[in-house]
């Protein structure tokens, strides 16, 4: 009874060390960093907090020839309130986002997402840029940034460009960044008055990757939804916006039946899979619940101000 099973990579994994040979660079300026990326085009990985990359290298899933650490580029670690919105440097630690009053007051869904990620130690290492560039479908910072319609800035030797966050994710582990580009900052426009938002997550434990995560933002005038934005994670190859549900909500009064209908529509926009964390069926069912809950909380925050 022969079997054509593929051998397990069990013998190439050794997390006491990084069992992969690579050359390490620690540029002091952004220019040096992008020069290196341009030189190693495609064969280098950018190291920020390391909470994803180092793990992937230790288990042998990622084997870069070059590692370009950007941790010394302190100019990428900031939270600035400017005229056009909030600017967050890509190297800003998740813990700093969680502790920022500006973010908790003005962008509460992002605060809630940062707080829901990993443990304190991981949040003290992991960065917002790293969370986005890792391009996990379950990235917790993605849904809030999507409902806030954030943009990210990418820099290379060829210049810089802005990418709307809604166009940033291309597939599991794939982003819109070119191999020679570094994500340098996230820009979030200020939300108009009477806007409320919320982030919710369901996972196996309080310290876990999401089975489903959801962010919602609603703008309300005189009891009527002017616009609503809903984003979901871990239910498709990338974090997604539930555009049909958003369109359905625009102009409606937010009764329970409307919320339920919107949740149904949002769930129908997901394409979940079954994996070690949950089942496709459960993810779709719970998407509905989280969308409903997030809409209720966001609405409450919008009308209470």
């Amino acid at each position: 009874m022969a079997s054509r099973v593929r051998p397990s990579p069990i013998n190439t994994m050794n997390t006491h060390i990084i069992p992969v040979r690579f050359e390490y660079f620690a540029p002091k300026t952004l220019n040096e960093a992008v020069d290196l990326l341009s030189r190693f085009r495609g064969r280098a990985k950018v190291l920020a907090g390391g909470t994803d990359l180092v793990v992937q290298m230790k288990v042998g899933r990622v084997r870069p020839e070059y590692v370009v650490s950007i941790r010394w580029l302190r100019e990428l670690d900031f939270i600035d309130t400017r005229e056009d919105g909030l600017h967050i440097g890509a190297l800003t630690k998740l813990r700093r986002i969680e502790k920022s009053d500006v973010i908790r007051r003005g962008f509460i869904a992002l605060y809630e997402a940062a707080k829901a990620m990993g443990g304190v130690q991981v949040r003290c290492m992991g960065t917002v840029g790293g969370n986005l560039c890792n391009a996990s479908p379950a990235a917790d910072t993605a849904p809030p940034l999507m409902v806030y319609e954030a943009r990210v800035k990418a820099v290379s030797t060829r210049g810089e460009r802005e990418i709307p966050i809604t166009k940033f994710f291309k597939g599991p582990g794939k982003s819109a960044l070119e191999p020679d580009e570094i994500l340098t900052e996230v820009m979030i426009p200020y939300q108009p008055a009477n806007t409320g938002s919320a982030f919710l997550k369901v996972a196996r434990t309080s310290m876990d990757l999401a089975k489903v995560n959801v962010a919602a933002a609603i703008n309300v005038r005189e009891g009527v939804v002017r616009w609503a934005r809903i984003a979901l994670g871990a239910v498709a190859p990338t974090p997604i916006r539930a555009l049909k549900a958003e369109a359905y909500l625009a102009g409606k009064e937010l009764g329970e039946d409307v919320i339920a209908r919107a949740a149904e529509i949002a769930a129908s926009e997901t394409r979940p899979i079954t994996d070690v964390r949950s089942t496709a069926w459960y993810r779709r069912e719970v998407s509905k619940v989280l969308v409903k809950d997030a809409l209720r909380i966001a609405y409450g925050r919008a009308v209470r101000g």
Binding site: P19, R204, S206, V286
Partner: protein, 786 residues
Amino acid sequence: MGVTSRFRFIGKRVPRRDGVLKVTGAAKFAYDIEIPGMLYGRIFKSPYAHAIVDRIDKSEAERLGAVVITYEDVPKVLFNTRLVSVDEATYKDWEVLTKHPKYVGEPIAAVAARSEEVAQRALEALRVEFKEVFKPVLDPFEAMDPAAPKIHRKIVLANRWVDVVNNVGATLEYSEGDVDKAFRDADVVIERRFKTNRRYHLQLEPKVAVCKPEVGGSITVWTTTQSLHNTRILISQVFGIPMSKVNVVKTFLGGAFGSSIHTNLVTLIAVALCLKARRPVKIALTREDDILHDHVSYQMHFRIKAGARRDGRLVAGEFENVMDIGAHQIQAYPLLGTALGWFVSLYKWGSIRYVGKAVYTNKVPTCAFRGYGNPQVTWAVETVIDEVAEELNMDPLDFRLKNYRGLGDIFWGQGPTVKTVIKSDGVPELMRKGAELIGWYRRPKPWEQRGRFRRGIGLARGFHTSGAGGPISGEVIDYTGAILKVNEDGSIDYVTALQDHGGGTLDAHVKIIAEELGVPPEKINVVWSDTFTTVYDVCTHASRGVYVGGEGARRAAAKVKERILEYASRLLPKVVNPEALKMEYDEELDDVVIYVEGMPGEKVTLSEVARTAWQRNWGSISASVSYRATAAPPSFTVYFVEVEVDTETGIVRPVKVVAGADLGTVINPDLAAGQIHGGFAQGWSMAVLEDVVYDPESGEPLNKGLITDYKVPMAPDLPALDNFTVIFASTYEPTGPFGAKGIGEAAANPVAAAVANAIANALGIRFYELPITPEKVLEAIKERRG
């Protein structure tokens, strides 16, 4: 705690002796052992769940400077890594390294090199060719199909070859009374099938072994083990080295939960590498190694049938137990008996019939995990008991009190060969107090609840044995040893092989010795010992550390006391019989005073006695004791758990816990309560979270060994401390040291059952497969709604 208040040291809250060492990192674990010239080992593990190796080319690895061993370099003997059972009850089917791997991760070869990096490169440079790769058999019922591939053909029992038929490694059948008639006469019969989960121990410390060659052909070994002496015996047996040349040294242990009752394979591989390299070798498993291929709990499939009369009396119990043991036997055969023991000892079933089978599958070998099958059996039995009570329209609490095995009944500690009469029983007290504290009589009725969030209160009762001793010698080896010396200044050295896994077992011993002699704990030194300098102790398992080990220590102290009093009487010439003397700690003198009651002048201090015995050549005051307990009494636990179920997500949250424990005299209340909190956490995790799931094609765990995908609850997932009440029964176990029994496993055993019963109380739905995940709960709720 009225009973314990008469003690001077026992029952008092004191800081952990090793607390500072552990917090500051000064405590040395096996991983911290560094020896000049030491090599680092790595194990080449089977990438297939079932295969035959054709050949191994090790030339490239050796060119890198590595020492390489394969199955050709190790002794050709089959062994069982666990030596707790007598030879006639020990099935042997394992090799140090194998040509015929039977699970993903089974060791085939190993390398040692001057650094972990070089070792890893050498490992990857090994060319291992397989001549056959079989489809893995992962389900025990499929494995028993005569057409299924054979995992083992012949194994060894004692020193005889036995044939393995249809992958069944061991069986046990038992019956008492006319079961069929009893079921015919029963008014209510409930029959259910259950499937338990396969849980990874997730002890803090992954397995490590360091082996150092010594002059004259001896070796010294530091390793993660629950038994120093059994590790030495196994190394001696496998490698043919006399025991007098094998020294296993104690190290701190970062938990084990049963995963090192047996000698972990890494220890034997480190020895083999060391013998070949003639250099010290360390092998430290990574967390991923530990998860992927080292140890996992027994996964059990049950059928339970219970019959009761209208008057609320159980009259018949039938129990079928099919255990998925993985690729090798560790303590599968003894567990067949012990599982029956747990079943029988929970309730007075009347007539019973039992069939147990231990079935091989191509998965990681299973071993004991806190409770040794007891949490699994208790979950299933306590579910059925609830259902029978409901059917009889009886309060489940009353039904339990009417039928449980308590005071004066026979208790089967570790299966049919270890029986004890129950002499202390706190169950009624714990039931009464717990019911009050949780609000049992106001618990919700599932059909009356509306809304998204539903509450439920569950009750489960259980126990665990304290050790595996007994009046006669059965299939289990259980005795301990202690050496006690009064030093020349009156301070004390305590020498024991017994391992403290981190639960504070040896702190308890120190208090027991202190209580016996009146010497304060600060003056008692626990000697960092090894197999050369200690007498035999079987293993710290079966919740025996305090009950058996502590009584061994107490007896050594009692012997020493006799000698102290005899010497003291030489200094108090008016005393004709030393038995008239008492010993007591005097805080002002900071010494033990030996005196005659009512005669204040007639006294001498312990330090004077010790000093005089030295100066006048009377000789050392010391004792060496080997002690076998004559009983293995049950420690009872009663859990009341309140949960909240979110009927839209299926998520179950613990709201409130009242945990009642009857461990006899409580030696150290904080540590005992700590055991109960930890027991709840593991039981909760078993109930709702954990399972190692295997890829049906490759036979590899789907979590790929990554802790990212093997979750256990974090602090926020557990009840807040304010909502967790621990109550101790005021009992005294006459056979235990100062009335004490065990607690480690009893603390965990009924938890999953109480949680499952609480979920049933909230929803009116019962689950027969663990873990009860949100996915399963939600599906069941939707199914019922139709």
